[in-house]
């Protein structure tokens, strides 16, 4: 029931956000229509970091309690992390091409997001080769922890490379920001946030049911 309300809210806010991004927000003077990519790019990027944080919470929760529900929590966060960061990297590339020229610029944020994406993917690859739920939870929690404490160190090293090798880095939204743009960005943030919350809760619920069904299956098999 709650999920349904959340789904409707998400849909409404997404449609509103789309309307505002393409029709309400003014055309940016320097970058043209390509600037409209930023309304989705920035919220997606933030949700990537949120995923990393939630995975860390799941890992710590699992270490403290040993409860598989924390494993499901972390796994869901990582799944959303892969999805949102991958989408965000594509939007970044499609912005970079018309504005900077190259498809891909190895600047600090892009590189960090890419590495984070790779860590999430490695996390899933590891899980897919561990059939036993308990062992999978334990080992992927260890990897998740090591991966998430990598993020700040990674950020530091990548940031240092950038500052020591100055490149043509144009900060996003080079032109002036009008109030309409600010409002559009806010609505877009809300839409992405709601979408994230909806997908997170739905996937978490599915994971829980899946575990229960697996359990039932085991019980049935045991009495065969």
């Amino acid at each position: 029931m709650k999920l349904k309300v959340l789904a409707i809210l998400t849909l409404v806010s997404m449609l509103t956000a789309l309307y505002m991004i393409f029709l309400y927000a003014p055309r940016e003077a320097l970058q043209g229509d390509a600037q409209r990519i930023f309304y989705i790019h920035v919220p997606l990027a933030i949700s990537g970091y949120v995923s990393a944080f939630l995975l860390l919470i799941g890992v710590i929760g699992f270490f403290r309690t040993g409860d598989l529900k924390w494993d499901r929590f972390g796994e869901t966060a990582a799944a959303l992390g892969v999805t949102f960061i991958s989408a965000q990297l594509i939007t970044g590339s499609l912005w970079s091409r018309p504005i900077w020229g190259p498809w891909w610029v190895w600047d600090a944020r892009t590189t960090l997001q890419l590495v984070l994406d790779l860590i999430f993917i490695a996390y899933f690859m590891l899980r897919s080769y561990l059939p036993d739920p308990q062992k999978r939870a334990k080992l992927s929690a260890v990897f998740g922890l090591l991966g998430m404490i990598d993020v700040p160190i990674n950020y530091l090293s990548i940031y240092l490379v950038r500052t020591q090798h100055p490149q043509a880095v144009v900060s996003p939204g080079g032109g002036g920001v009008s109030p309409e743009m600010g409002l559009t960005l806010t609505v877009s943030f809300t839409a992405v946030g709601l979408l994230y919350a909806y997908l997170f809760n739905r996937r978490l619920a599915i994971a829980k049911v899946e575990e229960e069904v697996d359990y039932l299956e085991q019980v049935v098999l045991a009495h065969e």
Partner: protein
Amino acid sequence: MFAFAAYGAVFTVIFVFLWMMISRQNRIEKKLEQIKNQLKDRNAG
């Protein structure tokens, strides 16, 4: 152009995620149905 492509890509990715999620849900429901039938057969037999 690029803006449309970007939003298209975002929606594609989210659609793929949703599709995978829903097919996973269907798989579970199927499995549950199977288990139910199995139990029914056993009680009948």
